[in-house]
Amino acid sequence: MKYRPITAESDTRDHLVVIGNGMAGCRAVEELLARDPSRFRITIFGAEPRVNYNRIMLSPVLAGEKEFGDIIINDADWYASNGIALVTGDPVVAIDRSAKTVTTRSGLVERYDRLLIATGSNPFIIPVPGKDLPGVIAFRDMDDVNAMLAAADAGKNRGGGAAVVIGGGLLGLEAAHGLSLRGMKVTVLHLMPTLMERQLDEAAGWLLKQALEARGQTILTGADTAEIVGEMKVEGVKLKDGTLIPADLVVMAVGIRPSTQLARDAGLAVGRGIQVDDHMVTSDPAVLAVGECVEHDGQVYGLVAPLWDMCRSLADGLVDKPTGYRGSVTSTKLKVSGIDVFSAGDFSGGDDCEDIVLRDASRGIYKRVVLRDDRVVGAVLYGDTADGNWYFDLLKTQEDVSALRDILIFGQAFAFGGGRADPKAAVAALSDDAEICGCNGVTKGQVVSSIAKGAHSLDAVRSSCKASASCGSCTGLVETLLALTLGDEVRSGPKTLCKCTSFGHDDVRREIIAQGMRSIPEVMQKLHWATPDGCASCRPALNYYLLCALPGAYQDDQQSRFVNERLHANIQKDGTYSVVPRMWGGITSPAELRAIADVVEKFSAPMVKVTGGQRLDIFGIKKEDLPAVWADLNAAGMVSGHAYGKALRTVKTCVGSEWCRFGTQDSTGLGVKIERMSWGSWMPHKFKIAVSGCPRNCAEATIKDFGIVCVDSGYELHVGGNGGIHVRATDLLCKVASEQEAMDYCAAFIQLYREEARYLERTAPWIERVGLDYVKARLVEDDAGREALRARFLVSQSFSQDDPWAQRAEGAEAEHHAPMARFTPQEELA
C-alpha cells in the first residue's frame, strides 16, 4: 500500500524520513506539523500493511469491545492532506549514513536529510523448543489479534479451544482476558510468584490472581516453560516440572526488546535501546530516534506516556526551539473490564519510606501509597483506582503532603470534602446512626455507648459490642471513637501479633480457620495488615498458623522462615552450620557412629560434640557442603534431628528396665516409639520430651515440655517444663497404665499446644497463661476431645514425616545452598 501525494520534483525542502508508522513515529510527525507544517517534506515507512492505529487498544479489540476501525489514529486522508508519503508493508532493511539513504525490502531507496527511527519494540520470544510452531504468536500488532480471533473461532466448533498465555504481565493478562471472553479455555503461565510483579506488590498481585481465577482462568505462578510441543502445529506446553497443558494457541507475552537492529547495523550508538540525547538526537546528528526503541539517560520505556513527552521535545528541537526531554515517571492501568488495578512510581518502599496501607476485604480493596520525605513516591491501588490520577499527580509534582498525611489514603474526595482535613473531626461529625462496623452492623451510637459502659480498650469494645471484631477494617474508627470519648484514658489493648496488625495471635488464628484462609497474602488482605508484606515477626507466625490449620494442603513459604528452618541446620556465629542427625531416644550404633566419624573427617569439621539433648552435633559445615553431608548421613539411615526447628527436638531417655537395677519400665523403648511418632512436626516453639525409667529421673523428664516418669504401676505424665533462663518444673497431668495411653496423651497434648499456643510461646508460658486446669479439662476429662486431638495430630504427621535432608540431598531448593557466582579478582584483572 502506498499513498504518494504529488510532491513536485522541485520540492527543495529538507526531506524527513520516518522509519516506523507506529504510535511514536506518527505522533512525532503530528507534533512537528503543529509547529511548522511546511518545514519538511515527509515520508513514512511502515512494516505493517496499514495506517497508524492506537496499539494499546488492541486489547479492547481482542476483547470484542472495539473494532479495528475504532482505533485508527490517522487515516489515509490525514497522510494525503498533510502531504505525507506513506509506504506500508515494506520495512526498511538498511540505512546508509554516508549516502544518507534508506533501503526497503522491496528495493526502494530514499534519500533523507533528517532520519527519524521509530521502530518500537519486538516481543521477546523465549528460546524453548517448539517456539516456531504454527500457533505460537506474540501480542504486538493487529496481525496477532487476527490470529487470536481465528484460533478462538476455530475452537468454537469444538466447544471452545484451549489457549496458553505465557507471561502474567500487563500484556499477557489482557490477552488472556480477551481470549477467555472469546470462549477459549485460558491458562496463564507466570514464572514469578505474583502476577504483574513489576507493577504490583505481592498483596495486589494476589488479589488480581483471585479475581482472574474467579472468572475461570487458570493461573499458574512459578511456572517455568520447558518446551512447546506439537507435530505440525502447537498442541501443548510442557513445564519444567513435567506438567503438560494442552493448547491450540500459545501467546508469548514475556516482555519486549527495543527494536534496534537497523540502528546497530548502521553503526549508531546502541545500548539497551538506541541512545539519544535530550532532543532525541542519536550519535549521528542527522538521525533522530523516538519511542520504545530508544534509550534516554539509561532508561527504556514500554508505555505510551513517555512517548508523548519525547515527541514534544523532538519536535521542539526540529524547529530550532529546543526544550529538552528529562525522562518520564510512568503509571500503569490494567485494561481488563471489571478489574481495577493501578500502579505508579516506586512502590518498593524501604526504610526511608513510609507505607500507608488501606485494606477493605469486604469490598475487595487494597490501596498503598508510599511516601518519602513527605512526598508521594509510589502508589498501588486495587479494586478502587478512582484516586490513581490524584496520587500520580502528587507524585509528579512532588508536593509536600504532610498536611494530608492522615487522610491521604482515603482519597481526594475525602481530603477535600468539606473541611474534613482532620480525621478526628470527621469521625466526631458522624451521626449516631452511622455504621462503624460493616461486618457486625454496629453503629457509632452503639460503640460510644459501650465505651461509656466501661469498654475502655479496643479489645473491650470488640468483646462488648463486636465492632472491629471480625475483619478489623474499622479498627482505626473505633480507636478514634475511644480517643474522642475518653480522651487520654484509653487503655492499650492486648499485645498484637506485631506492629503490622491490630490483631492479636489468637484473633488471627481464629479468623484463619473461620474464613478458611489459605495463604499469607490472603491473611494480610483479609485482616487489613498495615504493611505490604509483613515483617520478620509476623511472617513466620502466619506461615506456622496456616501450616497448622491446613495440614498437607498449605504451600509452605520458605522465605517466611528463619534461616535455620530454611537450611535445616543451625547457623553459627561464623556463618557456618552445625548438623545434628536424629539419634532415636539417644540410642546409636557402630554404623551410625562410623558414618558421623566419616562425615567429620571428609568435610574437615572442626568439632563434634555430644549435645545436652543426647546426640551428636557436627560443627563448622559450610552452607554449600550441607547437601553432601546429608546425603552421607542419609546413606547410613539417619535423618534430620530438627535441632534447628520450632519442632520436636529430642526425646531423652535413660536406660530403664532393660539394664538399670532400679528401672520400672522400658523407658528407652518408649522414648524411641514416641520420637518415631512425633518427629518432623512443626510447632509454635521447640518441643522436648524425655522418658525416665524411675522417679530418680535421670532423663530430667520434669523440665521437659512433655515428660514421662515410669513407676511400677504405670506412667506419670508431666507437662510444661523447661530449662532455660527461668527453669520451670513440670506439672503432673495424670497417670496412665499403659505405653499406648502414654503415647496417646502425648500426641493429644502436642496437638492442643500446636493449635492453641501463640507462635514462639513454649509450653511452660502457655500453661501458665491458660492454666493447668484448662489443659486437664481438654485432655483428661474429655476422652472424645482427647481422641480427636490425637487423630488430628496423626493426620498432620502423615504429611510431616518427610526427611527434609533427603529432599535437599536430592537437589531440592539447591539455590539455598550454592553461591550464585564466584569472582576471582586476580583472574579478572589478567
Binding site: 514469578m192 513489576r198 526504610d351 509483613g534 534461616v563 547457623i571 556465629k573 539455590e815
Partner: protein, 113 residues
C-alpha cells in the same frame, strides 16, 4: 556482559523473591544479593555491622533484612542498621540489564576487601 565496570552475575530470577543469593569473592567477604517482594535487587557485603552475621541468611521484609544472628534490621538500600542499632554495611551498586544482574566491579572489590 561482564565489562571493565560491571560484573555479570546471572539472571534476576535466580534470586528467590524475598530471598537472597551470594557471590563468592576470592580472598574476601561474600557479597549478598537481595530481591525484595517488589522485585528490587540490592547488593551488600554479606557481613552484619554488629557481629558479622551473614545477612544473606536473614528474613527479607519490605526494604530491609533481619540479621540471622541477633535480629538487627539492616536497610538494603543504604546498608545502615535501623531503629536503635548503629552501624553500616557497605553497599554495592547493582543494575539490571535484560534480566541480568550486574554488580559494580570496583565496589565489589572494595566491599569484599
Amino acid at each position: 556482559m561482564t565489562t571493565a565496570e560491571w560484573l555479570d552475575i546471572g539472571w534476576v530470577d535466580q534470586i528467590p523473591v524475598r530471598g537472597s543469593r551470594t557471590v563468592k569473592v576470592e580472598g574476601g567477604d561474600d557479597i549478598a544479593l537481595f530481591r525484595t517482594a517488589e522485585g528490587k535487587i540490592f547488593a551488600l557485603r554479606d557481613r552484619c555491622p554488629h557481629k558479622h552475621g551473614r545477612l544473606s541468611q536473614g528474613i527479607v521484609h519490605g526494604g530491609a533484612v533481619a540479621c540471622p544472628l541477633h535480629n538487627w534490621r539492616i536497610s538494603l538500600a543504604t546498608g545502615e542498621a535501623l531503629g536503635e542499632d548503629k552501624g553500616c554495611t557497605p553497599t554495592v551498586p547493582v543494575k539490571i540489564d535484560g534480566g541480568r544482574v550486574l554488580l559494580c566491579r570496583a565496589s565489589t572489590l572494595r566491599a569484599a576487601a
